[in-house]
């Protein structure tokens, strides 16, 4: 009892009805109990001045402008930004900048397309594609000349040319396209060749060829990659005309063929490194003479 309210939270516990019965009984016996009770009872009648809730709120409102949540970037801005982006995107898509890579006489070029696929370009060839198409998953490019493609797996990969188009999913193939010559060789996987009204499916080791207006032919070939990658250009029963065209491309020369039959078929390969050797390998078997004068070559029968 002597400690009744020297315990530093005793009165708090009393007010909270947290005293034990014993504590309460002994507390009630003290004279102080009545005084405490009187104070507590009297305190009940106090109150804080009234608070003008509405008025203060109005003041807060005015100072915060807070009827409307002010966003740093209003919603319509996002919409506007999206529309502009869409518009620009569409314009870009429609006009899209074209990427063009071209090789000159005797040159070769290796390039990596946006999807990681590789193209090796033979001499006097070019590929053109729209970057925007590729980012949209549309793997399409245009080829003029000859190219060897190593395609990464993915969406359809198309090679367009004036002679037709080749569609694949992921494979390696060679396309050679000139105004009068179209040849596709499949080195791996499966490719679909579409040439005018014809469609052909090629698997590994199969080739498709169309020369001039003749019927297209399918053939087979050996090898795991085009010979031209190793600095040789090879032909299989190809009209001499096309062989010589190819030679012109490799060496930047003009060949006069007026005195020979350019439709003779030629099977063989010529090197891309030495013009004399190349001319010999073509001309000797066909009994043709050649005279080189700077960048002009005159051919004639022996």
């Amino acid at each position: 009892m002597k400690n009744e309210h020297t315990d530093d939270t005793f009165l708090s516990r009393w007010l909270n009805n947290d005293l034990t019965n014993e504590e309460l009984v002994s507390f009630k016996k003290t004279t102080k109990y009545k005084e405490y009770q009187k104070i507590i009872k009297a305190t009940e009648n106090f109150n804080a001045p009234s608070f003008n809730k509405r008025e203060v709120f109005e003041k807060i409102r005015q100072k915060t402008n807070h009827k409307k949540v002010k966003k740093l970037i209003p919603n319509w801005m996002f919409a506007a930004a999206a529309s502009i982006a869409l518009l620009l995107g569409t314009v870009y898509y429609l006009t899209g900048t074209n990427e063009t890579y071209a090789t000159s006489y005797g040159e070769q070029m290796a390039l990596v397309l946006p999807d990681g696929s590789e193209v090796l370009l033979n001499s006097k060839s070019s590929v053109t594609y729209k970057k925007s198409d590729w980012f949209n998953g549309n793997r399409t490019l245009e080829l003029d000349g000859e190219g060897y493609f190593k395609v990464k797996k993915g969406s359809t990969f198309s090679v367009h040319s004036e002679n037709g188009k080749v569609r694949v999913l992921g494979t390696q193939f060679n396309v050679k396209t000139n105004p009068s010559y179209y040849e596709v060789l499949c080195y791996e996987g499966k490719v679909q060749v579409q040439n005018k009204n014809e469609t052909a499916i090629l698997t590994k080791g199969l080739s498709f060829r169309k020369i001039d207006t003749k019927h297209s032919e399918k053939g087979t070939f050996m090898g795991v990659k085009p010979n031209w990658l190793d600095g040789e250009t090879s032909f299989n029963n190809t009209p001499l005309k096309h062989v010589l065209e190819e030679l012109e491309k490799q060496y930047n020369i003009q060949i006069n063929t007026s005195n020979i039959n350019v439709n003779t078929l030629y099977t063989g390969a010529f090197t891309n490194k030495n013009i004399n050797l190349a001319l010999q390998t073509i001309c000797t078997p066909l009994s043709i003479q050649f005279v080189v004068d700077s960048n002009k070559v005159m051919l004639s029968k022996k």
Binding site: T9, E35, I39, K41, T43, F46, F51
Partner: protein
């Protein structure tokens, strides 16, 4: 999961205002004893909350308000005597009390009033928040960011001091 309430939302802000403005005002008044100053404190605290709304989660809004009011008050030097309004005990319809009794009671109320005003600020706010605003010790502890034990000690001391001042009349 109930969706999170954002303090930046007007409706949430209003909800917080209608729920806490009065006790915030009382809290400020028990400290300052000045009703105009208290109104300003409430106003400032809510404006501060609005300006920082993105950083305050709904559950912490209440303690933010009290902490800010407390800090704002400490920054203001002016400090008036806390004068509370009161109703006379049994005043209402029970008029069968003797005039002597009523006079005595009035005197007592004034004494108590002065004793409360003389309490240390920390004790006074705890005592009045508990007795007038009926806040539990736990609620007060949260408002003041102190422990429940500290609230109980302040409460005990406040009451003890009040009795010592007026008990021996």
């Amino acid at each position: 999961m109930s969706e999170k309430k954002s303090v930046c939302e007007s409706s949430v802000f209003e909800e917080l205002y209608s729920e806490h403005s009065k006790s915030l005002y009382n809290f400020a008044f028990y400290k300052s004893g000045n009703s105009a100053q208290s109104e300003d404190l409430v106003q400032e605290a809510f404006i501060k909350m609005w300006n920082n709304c993105a950083k305050i989660i709904f559950e912490k809004a209440k303690s933010f308000l009290f902490t800010v009011t407390n800090n704002l008050f400490l920054n203001q030097v002016a400090h008036k005597k806390v004068v509370l309004n009161y109703n006379l005990i049994g005043g209402k319809e029970a008029t069968n009390e003797s005039p002597e009794f009523l006079l005595e009671e009035k005197e007592f109320m004034e004494l108590l009033q002065n004793a409360i005003a003389d309490l240390k600020e920390g004790q006074r706010e705890v005592f009045l928040l508990n007795r007038i605003d009926k806040k539990t010790y736990k609620e007060i502890a949260e408002m003041l960011s102190i422990s429940v034990k500290a609230v109980e000690k302040r409460m005990h001391l406040a009451l003890k001091q009040l009795r010592e001042k007026i008990g021996n009349i």
